[in-house]
Amino acid sequence: METLRQLLVSREISELSRVTHLLDEPEQLAAAVGDVLPTAVARATHAQLGEALAPAVERAVQRSIQKSPRTLTDILYPVFLPAIRKSIGEKIDQTFQSLNETLRHIFTWHGLKWRFEAWRTGASFSEVVLKHSLIYRVEHAFLINRNSGLLIAHVAADNATSEDPQLISSMLSAIQDFVKDSFNEREQSGLDTIRFGDLRLWSEVGPFATLVSVIRGNPPEELHEIVRDVLLRIHEECSQALVEFDGDSSQLAGVEAQLRTCVEQKQEESNEGFPWLVAAVALLFLILAGGWFFLSWQSGQRWQAYVSRWQAYVSRLEAQPGIIVAEQQARDGQFYIAGLRDPLAADPQSLLSGTQVDPARVHSQWQFYQSLQPEFVLKRLKASLAPPDSVRLSIDNERIVAEGEAPDTWIDRARAAARQLSAGGPEFDISKVRDVSPEVLEAKRWQAYVSRLEAQPGIIVAQQKIRDGRFYIAGLRDPLADDPQSLLSGTQVDPARVHSQWQFYQSLEPEFVLKRLTASLYPPDTVRLSIVNNRIIAEGEAPDTWIDRARAAARQLSAGGPEFDISKVRDVSPEARAAEHWQYYVSRLEAQPGIVVAQQSTRGGHFYISGLRDPLAADPQALLSGTEVDPARVHSQWQFYQSLDPKFVVKRLTASLTPPKSVRLSIIQGRIVVVGEAPAAWIDRAQAAAEQLSADGVVLDVSQLRELDLAELNHLRESIQTTDIFFSSGKVVPGPEQTPVLDRLADQIKEFAQNARKSGVTARFMLTGHSDTTGRETANASISAARAETVRALLNKRGVAPELLLVRGAGTFEPAVPENSQAGSSTNRRVSVTVNLD
């Protein structure tokens, strides 16, 4: 029969045993699953696999974070840093590129280098980052003649292209004119910056040439400086050629080298790419590892569930102490179990939880019994004997052993229990329990308390004894030492049975002396007391009254106590402090021009000062503020005097003489010099003042004063304002007969302007154009303005500075004569002049 079986199914049997073996050995099973896992993962439906893996991967990541957040941070660092950087970069304007760069460079080698640089130069870290991370390149530099807009020179960076530089040059200057005209900008200020996307045009305007740089990126502010410097150097080196420039740039070939220094300016982007490959590999590894963990865990789980969830539960019950399974059976999808259980054993019902066996299908029948297993006996003994804290029960080789100390009553009860158990139960050994009656215990506790007192500084125990269950103690204690009564707490000695007799004494131990000194002397905050080598040392500052008290205390202590050293306390009594402040105030006064301190003294806490002061000098009272000197204690006596310090003399002269605008008083090497033009009467007064002052030894030099004649100026103004330039009908350029009038007008304007400037005023001349009433009103308005413009140009041609000439068109609104005749119209077609002074 056995042979037959061997023949028929031997192959199957061996195969079956191999598989069973495989399933039984977790090591082998894991190896087998590991072999097919990659293929299985690859074959699985992506959506399902993702869903299945998600919780496990989540849990794995969670655990990893809990275990060590650093690991995951390190893995993800290259992922989230660029993400943060990107979102910041998008939100903030390019100008804030610095922040982006800072983030990028905080952890890099550059970052360290820049931190070092910041530390070395004293600049802030962000400044250094900004300096290095503004990425830009100067692509072109154009040097443009200011007058004509013609290109003088052009230099381009490598690979930089542009349209014809000559045209660009002219167009740029046309655009500058356009902006200037459109917004009424002043002559001097050029168009600084044009920005278009990534490109910027910076123009730096010099007297004869404009330097336009075309920059791609974000240039730093210093680049302005560099460009300005280049322009300055060009003006210095080639000023003559620049002035004479007429379109022939061969004269100015040298400036190209200068422009090249502009174009060489750049800050390139350092290309530290982000390690995508490393990040991708790391992420993939993370996912695969998580997946493997999950699959192996899940397959184990299933195997157990399918093979014998119930069997596992039963064997768990069987392994439980105090539970005996008598029979068990699985039938028709239901589970039946019966047996014995000790009341102290685990509840079979509660053991079901976590086994994945459905409690609804379990039918149990349990009978209570008392287990004689040592651990149950131990539990029962603990409950019935209630051993004191000083006794420990344990199991040793199936025996129950009691150790420790207990009162004799408890030992008797334990002995009875041991006798009962000897019939069949485990042995109960109480030989190791020492008999401790309360008296013995209390005596021990008392001794512990006494030795604690003896160790206490400031307490001396003289006598102690125990009699009739009472404790007696006597000795000395310092009032500052710890209270012996309060030290009782925690010793388990009954305070009601303690009788103490303490005599106070003063301990001379340094720490007690220090405490007493602190309590009696009240040292100010500025004084610090400390113990060094058993000496008490005071350091700091204190008023003299305190120092006196401290000295008295030191003398007292010298009889037997520790040394009290107060030599390191400086005297800062309020008086000394006040005297210091007073001296500071006096020296401040003495340094003041126009104040002479004659005498000063301190007496009885009051301050006395007397001297001379110029009325124009600073007020001594006002100078008190901020010196911390109490004004109520200051008694001053000041006599006014006139300081001959030139500064004061000038002040007085300015007040008394009220010099006209055209006159300037200045101090040159101790002498007062008056320069300018003034009316004759004023010059006389100034001379009189000079004579007076010379008696006091002060020099007032009026020799450079010139007389001012205003009468002539008024005459000239009258003559200018009555001059008109006339025009033929419809013409905006005056006829040749007006030439002598224009010549004379130009001369008069020039003369007036010059004289006015000498007397410190600026004259401006308003040219108002007029037209007759023939023709349309709009045409008349523009003709009138054009006439004024033409006259301005003609006067300019005759040497009148254009900035002195203002132009307006009045159209027909301000006729010179009523317009009802031919003569009337020809009188009204004119440009009139008015003079304004400011």
């Binding site: 290109l151 045209l167 356009f178």
Partner: protein
């Protein structure tokens, strides 16, 4: 590199822009004229002894003499005065403009172009008047931006005048 700034002057619609377009292939769009008020072109002209780059400034909007921006002419070495031969008033306009420029910047070389010579039937300028202007020693040309007649001659002449 020798360059000269030249300004096109003349009344509204006389053909300044068309003349420049005929003379040089432009790189800037003509919208510059209406936006910035000026359009700039460049033409290299080869003369017997040298080459000069003419930087041509074409100005917009001289329909109203009052609005003319004299400042654009600053630094120019020559003018192209353009007259529309079919409108007599444009001659006065051109001469007035020249006067204003001269008053501001002094005398400078110019050529005077009577344009649209192809429109013979609507021509209103008498030959006598043209002769009279030539008598003053002025360089006068009858041009057509449409056919290109005498356009190059006029610019060439001005080029040699400004490089004298």
């Amino acid at each position: 590199m020798l360059q000269k700034k030249i300004c096109m002057l003349g009344g509204f619609s006389v053909g300044k822009t068309s003349l420049v377009r005929r003379f040089v292939k432009s790189i800037f769009s003509e919208t510059y004229l209406t936006t910035v008020g000026v359009k700039i072109d460049k033409k290299s002209v080869a003369l017997p002894d040298k080459t000069v780059d003419l930087i041509l400034w074409d100005l917009a909007g001289e329909d109203d003499i009052g609005s003319f921006r004299v400042s654009h002419v600053r630094g120019a070495t020559g003018l192209v005065l353009v007259v529309d031969g079919t409108r007599a008033a444009t001659l006065t306009a051109a001469l007035t403009l020249r006067e204003r420029v001269e008053a501001e910047f002094g005398a400078m070389p110019f050529v005077l172009l009577f344009n649209k010579s192809d429109l013979a039937d609507r021509w209103v300028i008498p030959d006598r008047e043209i002769d009279e202007l030539r008598q003053r020693g002025w360089q006068v040309y009858l041009t057509s931006a449409l056919s290109g007649e005498h356009v190059d001659d006029a610019f060439l002449k001005l080029a040699s005048m400004v490089t004298k």
